[in-house]
Symmetry: C2
Subunit: 277 residues, 2 copies
């Protein structure tokens, strides 16, 4: 595969970069972005070919912000990958756990390592804008009383030392990521398609919408309702199903769905990975 630029939110070594390497291999050119908005802009305006975003986590659910950005932009989902999130405690080499009085990381990562901080009461958890960014900051500042919580890969990037692996409380911590591109993917094999649609809050409206899939034996792999932020009594539905957008069957189903919903957006078709969240 040719070397491809992949935008992701966070500094080098972020979990999204790990996800991109998992899906696309180690030859990618990672392009760190300070926000998800920047990431969407970079892909939209051809600064990178691809973007990798987290979309749902097994502990905290769907990342609504990224669904919102998918609705606002015209990028296509062309891949998915599920990553087990395992946090490492990372410090400069030669620094032992006893010397550590501060641990920097993204608030969500700190929150996921509560047991570690309960056990080490003299260590203060300090919020930082990014997991890998915290590793970078400690590497650059030469602090010897501080560590960071991030992916083991971040330690490798900044030539830091792994003090402890897998310090997260909950081992069943998976994040599902989506790969974004400006153009849809052509491929063969088992496919999954992601769509968002909205319905009026009327009895049976969702049932009618789902009949479109059920009558054609199309298997749903995700469904989630979310109240619209703009209009009361209106809901968005996030739905993933098995099948490829260019299949006749799927085409008919989506035409049919178009008759029932008053808004529908096809996010994309991509190879179905059986380990999907």
């Amino acid at each position: 595969m040719a070397v491809k630029k992949v935008a992701f939110q966070g500094e080098r070594g972020a979990y999204s970069e790990v996800a991109a390497r998992e899906l696309l291999g180690k030859t990618i050119t990672p392009v760190p972005c300070d926000s998800f908005e920047t990431l969407f802009d970079k892909v939209t305006h051809k600064r990178t070919e691809l973007g990798m975003i987290p979309i749902e986590n097994s502990l905290v659910g769907s990342i609504h912000k990224n669904y919102d950005l998918l609705l606002e932009h015209n990028l296509k989902v062309i891949g998915e990958v599920q990553l087990r999130v395992s946090h490492a405690l990372i410090a400069p080499s030669g620094v032992s756990l006893k010397k550590i009085s501060k641990v920097y990381s993204h608030p969500m990562a700190l929150e996921q390592c509560r047991k570690f901080f309960k056990k080490h009461k003299t260590i203060a958890p300090i919020s930082y804008y990014d997991t890998a960014g915290a590793v970078k900051m400690i590497a650059e500042s030469g602090l010897t009383n501080s560590a960071a919580i991030a992916s083991p890969y971040a330690a490798q990037i900044y030539k830091m030392h792994l003090l402890q692996r897998a310090i997260e409380d909950e081992k069943h911590n998976y994040t599902r990521f989506l790969l974004l591109s400006r153009t849809p993917l052509s491929f063969k094999g088992k496919a999954k398609t992601s769509i968002v649609f909205s319905l009026k809050n009327e009895p049976g409206a969702l049932f009618k919408a789902l009949s479109v899939f059920a009558l054609r034996n199309i298997d749903l792999t995700k469904i989630e309702s979310r109240p619209s932020r703009k209009q009361a009594w209106q809901y968005y539905f996030y739905v993933d199903f098995e099948g490829y957008i260019k299949d006749k069957l799927i085409n008919h189903a989506l035409d049919h769905l178009g008759e029932i919903t008053h808004f529908i957006k096809i996010l994309g078709s991509y190879p179905y990975r059986v380990d999907g969240l």
Copy 2:
């Protein structure tokens, strides 16, 4: 209403306590708990009559951990309340913003106030186990260079000063809370019922399950799929719908649903608040 003991997770002044006061009035006796497990235990073992838990948030989605605890325990949902989450910056009176170099709060609250920290670069965000707990700690320690982020009500509880109100980035930040009891509620008027069921991942299985409601014109207000953590290819569905568990129509629907699902748990019926998330 008689004085009732209400358990909630967090210290006095937590958002869950604010939710309990909103729903039950100011005469409740709040019972702070160090974890959600403790809260469920206290209600189950008659240490309190009631418990108040957050169940979903408009930014981060459903709180799966509390759904898991609802599945493990036999408590009934008897009420719901939606609260707009608005964070205040809280310090001892006489301390000005200029003196503040550290701000303590729960990681999620710190994360929701990124713009504040971007604007005040000399102030370090420090993770603390609880929002209201951070206010309590500063009040007790007499720190004059520190503030906390929590509900305005927490400032009132610990006799602290509101330095700034509404410092959260995103104003559309709502949390939906559920009120738990050992015994179901008898009431009249518009009702909502919450259930959890599981289905095999077969095409059309969800459609069949939803037909139970659609064929009876029962309106769904929430649906969310979640992969089972215990069994591959099995899903849990969180469903809320309009109607009271003792209504004949709802009874028939749930009997019918029982034929289709291989697991179903009725979490409870409670008065339907139209402001529900």
